[in-house]
Symmetry: C2
Subunit: 301 residues, 2 copies
């Protein structure tokens, strides 16, 4: 009854997400762990996965379709990049990984790279595959906010070009490791301060390194509150990114893929700029992409 | 013979620098320690200083003139800011700190703050005082590169306005804590890559968060070397700052104050932009400022 037919795995730097499917593509279980790629040596991947899925394994072989940093140099095994422009990689180009446990047939989907300007993605290409499976005629831009936000130009089912912005990582570093950490040490928030900071940085991106120090200074000399400080920090960084990504969104059909809270941070200011967007869940899209890959695999003889 | 008449102290976040002067303003000793403000609770300042200077104390009282973060909230005692526009604070507004040891007459020079846009400095105002003691008719801009680089507009012996850029701290965080740390993990360097990156970021500051990720990506897909990567990282950040500080340097008489290696990173690209500058040593200027403060103190009845 509860035996897996195939297993979908999104294995990123900091987290592992697993979906187990039984007969008739019925979801049996959703599992997760904090055993991300950054915490594991190559030999640790198989036991880490088995610890989660063993209860669902039967006697036969189970397909395990993986995406994300699990396919990077520092992952389980290195799955060579596809090169843009290209369709998001499907199972036909996935790397087959030899597992010690004969019940596991593991495939890792490749990431996508771009030579000029140099760029890479691992994981987002599978979200894009899921999105395109559901929206095959989409022509426009996908934005996938995160630690390393991706802006992706899509045409005729292909990733035409893309750019990565380090916005999420900058926010995390500045908020926890820099002189600003005491200024933003709370969960409070100000929508108005965020909006103002986004507009400021979109108009004057060259001032961002100065505006950032201004958050600390305004705390000392003008009594700036923690919620406003935190919103300004993120607002300056998102605003600088939106200015840099303008060619990707201005006048484009735009879809945002990610968790609702995160997507809103991009969708709201873009709407203010007259660019509407539609939002799609990040987990839903990655799962749809892994499902598509599994189906492709089964079509192969 | 080796008895101190007065002591100059530059006490910053990460380091402590001390100069001991005897009769006739002769320098007896230069001392330093890594016991910066960030490592000390308020009660630890006096013993930390005494551990360095005790051998030079006689039976009488010795003036100790301090500047830097030692006067911040988290320092030995909080010396209230002077507010710009203002002359750099001298000893007449210094905070007298009650030491337990009666041989120490400790004064902490105030920092300078600005209400709008909010900004603060602690330590640089004493370098500025030293510079102005030697260049009393200077009319133009001072740039003091560092963790938090200051651009300061000077007129009629006053700090008219100033802006701080977090360039140095961003370089340190990104080079040691971010996804880029593996790309720049060496001391090698490329002048050409630095110059190209400065120009790129001056022209397109809104692209910086994307260019930064490009350093990592070009390492993966285009074989970018460590020296070029490190130079590009700093070049993008300095270029964004030079674009943001343009109003401070364009067409201005410009003096750079700091260590020669650091000053060169600003002076070279500015010369390329047609803005010449003169360089002054950071230690020399802070010591000159502390000397000026000591002399002011002794002029008071």
């Amino acid at each position: 009854m509860n035996t897996a037919e195939w297993i979908a795995v999104n294995w990123g730097m900091s987290n592992l997400r697993v979906w187990v499917f039984g007969a008739g593509n019925t979801e049996i279980a959703q599992l997760s762990s904090d055993q991300g790629v950054e915490k594991l040596v190559p030999d640790a991947f198989e036991p880490t996965l088995l610890a989660l899925v063993d209860p669902y394994l039967g006697v036969g072989t189970v397909s395990v379709i993986c995406c994300g940093m699990v396919g990077a140099q520092e992952g389980w095994a290195e799955a060579a990049f596809a090169q843009a422009p290209c369709a998001p990689p499907d199972a036909s180009t996935a790397l087959a990984v030899k597992a010690k446990d004969p019940r596991l047939d593991v495939r890792i989907l490749p990431g996508v790279m771009q030579k000029s300007p140099g760029d890479v993605m691992r994981g987002e290409e599978t979200q894009i595959a899921g999105f395109l499976a559901q929206n095959p005629k989409f022509f426009g831009t996908l934005c996938l906010p995160g630690t390393h936000t991706k802006w992706v130009q899509i045409s005729a089912g292909e990733i035409v070009s893309f750019r990565t912005f380090m916005t999420g990582e900058l926010f995390s570093l500045l908020g926890t490791q820099s002189v600003l950490r005491h200024s933003v040490d709370s969960d409070s928030w100000s929508d108005a301060a965020f909006q103002d900071a986004v507009e400021d940085a979109m108009g004057s991106p060259q001032q961002v390194a100065s505006r950032l120090f201004g958050i600390r200074a305004d705390g000392l000399v003008n009594g700036l509150g923690q919620g406003e400080a935190r919103a300004r920090l993120l607002g300056y960084l998102v605003g600088m990114e939106l200015a840099g990504a303008r060619g990707y969104w201005l006048g484009q059909d735009l879809a945002l893929i990610g968790a609702p809270d995160l997507v809103k941070l991009y969708g709201d200011p873009l709407a203010q700029q007259g660019t509407p967007s539609r939002a799609f869940g990040g987990d839903e899209m990655v799962l749809a992409g892994l499902k598509t890959a599994y189906e492709t695999l089964n079509q192969d003889p």
